[in-house]
């Protein structure tokens, strides 16, 4: 029975479209540093998740469990209903694409193009498909003009973009981007946001690890706050941002817009919710114009 059949035959319950499930996961690094403590969390199909937290909170460690690079010390991680324990990272990665934080750790090919082809060939795509997907990736990430350049000679931001491209090229079902906006200019960030929306419309699960509140906020993801290897808060972006205590624990600043309206709300002039406030401002503006 393959995965799709299992999914079809499963009884209808709210867990049907759960693609990743952590159950009481503890993880300690080989040197004994505990990085995850008692993590239980579930990600669903078609969901957009933002993971936030201070440096060293365990965000990267958490996502490395999803494609089986790391195996939990205690507890279990299930991906598409199967434990990661006995599956190799290379196999899981076909459906779980991770773009790592540090792009220097993986670029080796002679050209940008062959760098993208590498993953596709590892997963056994045929020549025609390799060509198609490579072209798609080069275009989508505006790397066409670099396609024959050496990856190592690219700038930091370009390398990061190439890493995003080479993972998305094989079209994984779960896309994990670790700090995707680091070193990206505003145009590239905007493109990335568009891409995230496109992938969501294809029912992919997207996990963004990021400190970049201004990037995450407009996407309104489900937000997970981490600190010291634990999950502090988990909820909609609106809920989590207003959880001031957890927020300051995780060393994160709320988006400036939210800050502004929370302060204005404290003054009693505006509703604290900036969407409500925006509507109110609009109303007053049109009223003023009509006068």
């Amino acid at each position: 029975m393959n995965l799709e059949q299992i999914a079809e035959s499963a009884p209808l319950s709210e867990n049907v479209d759960s693609v990743v499930r952590f159950t009481n996961v503890d993880y300690s690094h080989p040197n004994g540093v505990p990085a995850l403590r008692g993590i239980s969390v579930e990600f669903k199909k078609g969901e957009l998740v933002g993971i936030l937290g201070a440096n060293g909170a365990g965000k990267s460690t958490l996502v490395r469990h999803i494609n089986g690079i790391l195996k939990p010390t205690h507890g279990s991680v299930e991906v598409f209903g199967e434990s990661t324990k006995n599956t190799s990272a290379a196999k899981l990665s076909r459906r779980v694409g991770i773009v790592f934080q540090n792009p220097n750790n993986q670029l080796f090919a002679q050209s940008v193009k062959s760098e993208i082809e590498f993953g596709l060939r590892n997963f056994g795509f045929d020549d025609e498909l390799v060509r198609q997907r490579t072209d798609w990736a080069l275009n989508t990430f505006s790397l066409i003009e670099y396609s024959n350049r050496a990856p190592m000679e690219l700038s930091g931001g370009e390398k990061k973009r190439l890493c995003n491209a080479l993972v998305l090229a094989w079209d994984p079902d779960i896309v994990i981007l670790d700090e995707p906006t680091v070193g990206q200019d505003s145009e590239q960030k905007e493109r990335l946001a568009q891409l995230v929306k496109l992938l969501l419309s294809e029912q992919k699960t997207i996990i963004l690890v990021s400190h970049d509140m201004e990037f995450l906020w407009p996407l309104q993801p489900r937000m997970i706050l981490m600190s010291g290897g634990k999950i502090l808060a988990d909820g909609t972006a609106q809920q989590v941002v207003r959880d001031r205590v957890s927020f300051s624990h995780a060393n994160i600043l709320a988006p400036q817009l939210v800050e502004l309206f929370t302060e204005l709300g404290d003054l009693g002039r505006f509703p604290a919710d900036e969407f409500e406030a925006r509507d109110k401002i609009r109303l007053q503006m049109t009223a003023a114009k009509e006068k």
């Binding site: 290379a90 790592f100 993986q106």
Partner: protein
């Protein structure tokens, strides 16, 4: 200790002496409270001595005694090297080398090399993880395929190492490395009892080693 151990080992072929040497080394690890880590590194390296023994005994026409002897020699060197690297930090090594008035640049090169070995190891692990996540299966395929699989590992590793050394050089320059000919040390090493003890023990052992080598027996 390391120096005297290697010295003794290279000269002496008497099993009794080797056993004394190894016992002494192990006693020192107890004194230095690093038994656990010592044990770990030894369980990693000890099979090497065993392989040497088996190889010597079965493949080459040497006797049981010679084979044991060679294996013990290897074991003694490994044990004392482990002891040395587990007890001595690169900083301490740096100061000792300065005492001997080695050129500061040479000392610095050595210290950096020693300090960056674990970092490089960590890099290698991370690169392996990254390439596995791109569907590369290191353990699969025939010899040629496996050799080819090391390219995605080695190229970034070298690139990262070269990059780091360039950045490190710039960072050191901008932190005024080399501005004074003889930089002072923040921490000063002092000889204490245990240092005297190991030094004397080392000298005694080395002397025994020479004596044995020259006369072949103790009396």
């Amino acid at each position: 200790m390391l120096a005297s151990a290697i010295f003794v080992v290279s000269l002496v072929s008497h099993i009794e002496v080797l056993i004394v040497l190894i016992t002494f080394t192990i006693a020192l690890t107890f004194a230095a409270k690093i038994v656990k880590r010592f044990g770990k590194s030894m369980t990693f390296f000890a099979p090497l001595a065993l392989i040497a023994f088996l190889l010597n005994y079965y493949v080459f026409p040497v006797g049981l005694l010679t084979a044991t002897n060679l294996a013990l020699r290897l074991f003694a060197v490994i044990a004392s090297s482990s002891l040395f690297f587990l007890t001595t930090t690169p900083d301490e090594l740096e100061q000792v080398m300065r005492w001997f008035h080695l050129p500061p640049d040479l000392v610095m090169i050595f210290v950096i090399a020693v300090r960056f070995v674990p970092v490089l190891f960590l890099d290698a692990l991370q690169i392996m993880d990254a390439q596995k996540s791109r569907g590369l299966e290191f353990e699969k395929g025939n010899l040629m395929k496996r050799l080819r699989n090391t390219i995605p590992l080695l190229v970034p590793l070298i690139a990262v190492a070269v990059n780091r050394s360039l950045e490190l050089a710039e960072a050191m320059d901008s932190r005024a490395y080399g501005a004074t000919k003889r930089p002072t040390s923040l921490y000063v090493l002092k000889y204490n009892f245990s240092d005297y003890f190991t030094t004397i023990a080392g000298i005694v052992m080395s002397s025994f080693g020479i004596y044995f080598a020259l006369f072949g027996r103790l009396w």
